[in-house]
């Protein structure tokens, strides 16, 4: 069980959140190519180690939270609100 620090509510159980995928990809502008949208929707890295993720605090404040999480050790390094700067481990 992860304990995730919501920037608005504080540390909460993982069960209050829904995992919403890779936060390192960003929505292309509408005039981008179909290829850009294809990559945005379908193409993901599958990193072993540090990963930027979205966790949606659905059972709390309903905010989307950025999380720096290690997919190997499950360690959580930092969290940040959407639009905020997420501290990310340097070795990643």
């Amino acid at each position: 069980m992860h304990r995730i620090k919501c920037p608005f509510c504080g540390e909460r159980d993982e069960s209050e959140y829904i995992y919403q995928g890779d936060a390192s990809v960003s929505h292309p502008p509408f005039d981008a190519s179909i290829g850009d949208f294809y990559r945005y929707v379908y193409v993901r890295d599958n990193p072993k180690g540090w990963h930027r993720e979205w966790w949606h605090h659905v059972g709390g404040c309903r905010m989307w939270v950025q999380v720096a999480r290690n997919t190997l050790t499950h360690e959580i390094y930092a969290t940040a609100p959407a639009g905020g700067v997420l501290d990310f481990p340097e070795d990643a």
Binding site: M1, H2, R3, I18, Q20, S26, H27, P28, F30, D31, A32, S33, I34, F37, Y38, Y40, V41, W54, H56, V58, R62, M63, W64, H74, A82, G83
Partner: protein, 994 residues
């Protein structure tokens, strides 16, 4: 009370039992007597019952190997009927009056098992037997092989009735969790608890003290007395809790633990006010593992005959339960610990024909044993146990394999050394480290600072050292958490000099030498698997099933790894261990479910008008968590007739339907219209205030996501509706874009589903009905409230909203009032409507009406279809950008070959359509069936007078008038259907504009 004699009960001693409280129990239908404090295993042994089960694969007779929860053999069915629980370990079942247990996996009886002929064929049943034998032909799998395997190789029978017990969930937060209530755990809890830290001491068994024995001395007193004093001291600490019958079985991230508490298992029946078990979730800041160590069996021929027991178990039964496991107990060991068993036996007056010590040289203890008159034989290994249902003799061999002697005995106590119990601590993924000096794996704890180990679970075996270790660990942990620790001295015990351990993995022999008792894996199986190339330890495990049984191989893992290592000429750490996973002990599924079962499985959502529907005799249907009226049968009416009547009368008069479950989201802000423009495929900027519009939204991949009407209540205020099923998903989708993608937009929104309840009033008399309801509070004329018009008004002092929208195709209004007024609104409408023969209609009739009108719903929005597929391509705005537009332009999404929406009806009017049927090409001609599309929704339509449907077919509209075959393979029905326009009723829309 009539009690039976207990032939193997010793006359004195037994710290756990109360001789004044005899208890009757039955095993395999025969009654016996034991004492309060007994386990089922100790009570059976007191009655001379060693044979308690048959083995998994070979159906060999099996006895009791251990005295604790790692028991692989003595698995029984406990209790009767719905309470019957298979595979419970006799060693952990506390005896109660009237206990009923049965042996497992035997046919027809325990003493005579016809399937034990399996062992005659056992040379064909080695490692991977199932994989090799039951491979071909595949058609034999279900009818033949599976049945055979289930019969032959099974554990107990699960109860077939619903679990009648109750289970609860509980949560804890603590500073220090101490797992294990033995000497080290008690010492750790004591020092940590005295600091004021919040401590939970978790002990799996009913009693504290772990493996402390009767003869141990702590702080100058007998160990039992020290345990009692320590318990009292801990109980006096306000922040310290002692939990017994409390087994921690799962270790998860962030020091979160799962534990099972046996609240009622030791009682004849759980009292009504208590659950049978509680599942605890513990969030601990720090944890101290004091889980002790497990003795290993010795691998020699026939080492599974009933009467072969772990040496520590022999000692436990003698000391604690005053049971003689035999009249004549031979001992085989490779370490010092078994000598203590010999001393306990000697004390109890039980004969020890031989103590075979694999070590070459005498130790201090062996000298003492010799002085006490025990026949100690060094450099001597067990060769073979003799007997069938009970040990009768033990053959010994020298280290070179030469036969030495045959000793008569009826019990053999074996000790292959101790393995620290690392199963729980290793669940987090760190592999344990091998220590050659003690021939055991110890936990690797360097990597994280929030866990610590104390005592035997990390290889500290001496009692004095355990006490010191636990005490120090408790103190250090409390200090690290910032608690003040007064310097106190640790409890102490006389130090004992310990002799070394000698490797003893497979005693030479050619017979069946079991490594994993529960899964019947022998040393030969491991060699065979290795020869066949299953050399990785994880492959070995799966191929031979070594360590895969309910005991998770706690008695077998290290012996198995060592034998594999020897076979490969590698060291044990090179071979490595398999991964440990929760749960460390079997846990009833009911405990995980807790209260969340049956009607409490998930929350039930009822609309504000639920009681009204019940009054009308509604039959409800679950729509997600919602309960919606499906139909309202009149007396003697079946479902089909009720639906047909409801759908017909709505078009003739007027009907009312509860639509409160539709998702409602209110949006505010300067950019609310722009936000909607990006969400929906159609435009919203020009929608006037007081108007509603149907909207369709796509997913980013271009497929249709959801639909619904959205109304403009003010310049910067919209009310969106979603389908019932997607209400939560649409809200999350909107939150994603507003929060993470278009943060610059000024838009705010929240769910209003449960703030506003709604009804749809539909039918030619809808306006007359509502006029009678609202009595002039709102102008309902076609001019004031035209089709797609929206008004907010005050009705009886509360705000109401009326929307002239129609799903049925009739003149229809949707009325919303605040949730708490739902019942009042329903009743007013029914009262006023009585003059117009109003009827309530359910979701089924609603479905019929929308199919007749050709409106798409959930079955058409199946996550694969595009707007164009649905015939709604004209809604795609060319003047703006929106979610899903780029990828909806992909070649595959715009292909003219894609099936698109049509109507369908049977050529023979009496025939029934089936949702899910496929449109197929001429089968006779091609011999191969090709699908052209499918039927998505069907209805028995009163308006059309036959079954009708909506579906998707290649070519779509161009096929109107064509006849094709609809094939429904589930019932192998094939009927001829005609493709038609999807709008069956009022294609010009005169009714809804009327």
């Amino acid at each position: 009370m009539r009690t039976h004699k207990q032939p193997c009960r010793l006359d004195t001693g037994g710290s756990s039992i109360q001789r004044g409280k005899p208890l009757r129990f039955s095993f395999d239908g025969k009654s016996y007597t034991g004492f309060e404090g007994d386990t089922l295993a100790s009570a059976l042994l007191a009655n001379g019952k060693h044979l308690v089960g048959r083995s998994f694969k070979y159906h060999r007779p099996r006895g009791i190997l251990t005295a604790s929860s790692e028991e692989p053999n003595a698995l029984v069915e406990l209790r009767k009927g719905a309470f019957r629980e298979p595979n419970t370990r006799a060693t952990t079942i506390e005896l109660f009056e009237g206990l009923v247990a049965k042996s497992q996996n035997r046919f027809p009886s325990l003493a005579f098992d016809v399937l034990s002929v399996n062992q005659l064929f056992s040379r064909f049943m080695g490692a991977g037997f199932y994989y090799k034998t039951f491979m071909w032909p595949s058609s034999f799998w279900e009818p033949v092989y599976e049945k055979f395997i289930r019969r032959a190789a099974g554990l107990g029978r699960a109860a077939t009735l619903p679990d009648p017990d109750r289970y609860e969930h509980a949560h804890h937060h603590c500073d220090v969790l101490v797992i294990g209530g033995g000497a080290a755990g008690l010492a750790a809890a004591l020092s940590a608890g005295r600091s004021g830290a919040r401590v939970i001491l978790a002990e799996e068994t009913p009693r504290l003290g772990g493996s402390l024995s009767r003869t141990d001395i702590i702080d100058g007193a007998p160990a039992d007395e020290w345990v009692r004093n320590t318990r009292r001291a801990l109980e006096a600490l306000p922040e310290t809790q002692i939990k017994t019958r409390f087994c921690v079985f799962g270790y998860y991230d962030n020091n979160i633990f799962a534990a099972i508490e046996r609240v009622g298992d030791h009682l004849a029946a759980t009292p009504k006010h208590l659950p049978r078990q509680r599942l605890h979730t513990i969030r601990a800041r720090k944890v101290i593992f004091a889980t002790g160590a497990l003795e290993r069996p010795v691998v020699f021929d026939n080492n599974d005959i009933p009467g072969v027991m772990l040496s520590s178990a022999v000692r436990c039964y003698v000391d604690r339960f005053a049971v003689a496991p035999g009249k004549s107990v031979a001992i085989a060991t490779n370490n010092d610990d078994a000598y203590h068993t010999a001393f306990a036996l000697l004390d109890a007056g039980i004969n020890i024909p031989v103590l075979a010590d694999a070590r070459l040289a005498p130790s201090a203890l062996s000298e003492r044993a010799r002085q006490l008159g025990i026949r100690v034989q060094h450099a001597m290994l067990p060769q073979c146990a003799h007997g069938s249902h009970r040990v009768t003799a033990l053959s010994l061999q020298r280290t070179d394999g030469a036969f030495a002697e045959r000793v008569r005995c009826d019990c053999i106590g074996v000790s292959g050394g101790y393995s620290p119990n690392v199963s729980l601590i290793s669940q987090r993924g760190e592999r344990p480290r091998w220590r050659e000096d003690i021939l055991a794996f110890v936990p690797e704890t360097n990597k994280t600072e929030d866990i610590g180990c104390a005592g035997a679970c990390h290889g500290v075996f001496d009692l004095n050292a355990c006490l010191q270790d636990g005490f120090d660990m408790g103190e250090r942990t409390a200090k690290e958490l910032g608690f003040d620790v007064d310097t106190q001295t640790a409890p102490s015990a006389p130090s004992q000099e310990a002799g070394a351990i000698h490797p003893l993995w497979r005693c030479p022999g050619n017979g069946k030498a079991f490594v994993d008792f529960q899964n019947d894996v022998t040393a030969d199986d491991i060699h065979l698997a290795n020869r066949e190339g299953y050399s990785s330890v994880e492959h070995l495990k799966r191929y031979t099933t070594l360590g895969m049984a309910t005991d998770q191989g706690r008695t077998s893992n290290v012996n198995g790894l060592a034998i594999l290592a020897l076979a490969q000429g590698k060291s044990i750490p090179e071979v490595g261990t398999t991964r440990y996973r929760p749960p460390a002990v079997p846990v009833a599924i009911g405990a995980f479910a807790g209260h969340e079962r049956g009607k409490n499985f998930q929350p039930v959502r009822r609309t504000a008008m639920h009681a009204c529907h019940e009054k009308f005799g509604a039959v409800f249907v679950e729509a997600g968590q919602w309960m919606r009226p499906r139909y309202y049968p009149e007396l003697g009416e079946n479902m089909e007739a009720a639906i047909w009547r409801e759908a017909k009368l709505v078009r003739e008069n007027v009907g009312v339907c509860d639509v409160s479950t539709l998702g409602k989201i209110e949006l505010f802000g300067e950019d609310a219209a722009e936000f909607l423009n990006r969400l929906y495929i159609n435009g919203w900027s020009k929608l006037p205030v007081g108007k509603a519009r149907y909207g369709l939204m796509l997913r980013e991949d271009g497929a249709v996501f959801d639909d619904g009407t959205t109304s403009r209540l003010g310049n910067n205020h919209f009310l969106m509706t979603t389908t019932t099923a997607n209400a939560a998903a649409v809200l999350a989708h909107m939150e994603k874009y507003a929060q993470t993608v278009w943060r610059d937009l000024d838009v705010h929104f929240c769910s209003a589903t449960e703030q506003w309840c709604g009804v749809s009033v539909a039918g030619p008399l809808a306006r007359e009905t509502l006029k009678a309801v609202f009595k002039g509070a709102v102008d309902l004329s076609n001019e004031a409230l035209p089709f797609m018009g929206v008004r907010e008004f005050v009705w009886n002092g509360t705000t109401a909203r009326i929307f002239r929208i129609s799903f049925s195709g009739e003149l229809a209004y949707e009325v919303n009032v605040p949730w708490g007024y739902g019942e009042a609104m329903w009743e007013r409408i029914m009262d006023a409507g009585r003059a117009f023969n109003i009827i309530p209609y359910g979701t089924e009739a609603l479905g019929v009406l929308r199919i007749e009108k050709g409106h798409v719903a959930g079955s058409e929005l199946d996550g694969r279809t595009t707007a164009t597929d649905m015939g709604l391509g004209s809604m795609l705005s060319s003047k703006k950008q929106f979610i899903g537009l780029p990828l909806s332009r992909r070649e595959g999404m715009t292909s003219p070959k894609r099936p698109s929406l049509v109507g369908v009806k049977p050529v023979k009017p009496k025939q029934r359509l089936r949702g899910g049927a496929h449109f197929v090409t001429d089968i006779a001609k091609k011999g191969k069936i090709e699908s052209l599309g499918w039927i998505s929704s069907v209805a028995d339509s009163p308006a059309v007078g036959c079954w009708i449907g909506l579906g998707y077919i290649q070519g779509g509209h161009t096929r109107i008038g064509e006849k094709v075959t609809a094939w429904y393979p589930m019932k192998n029905e094939m009927i001829e259907v005609e493709i038609c326009d999807p709008v069956f009723v009022d294609p010009k829309g005169e009714r809804l504009h009327g």
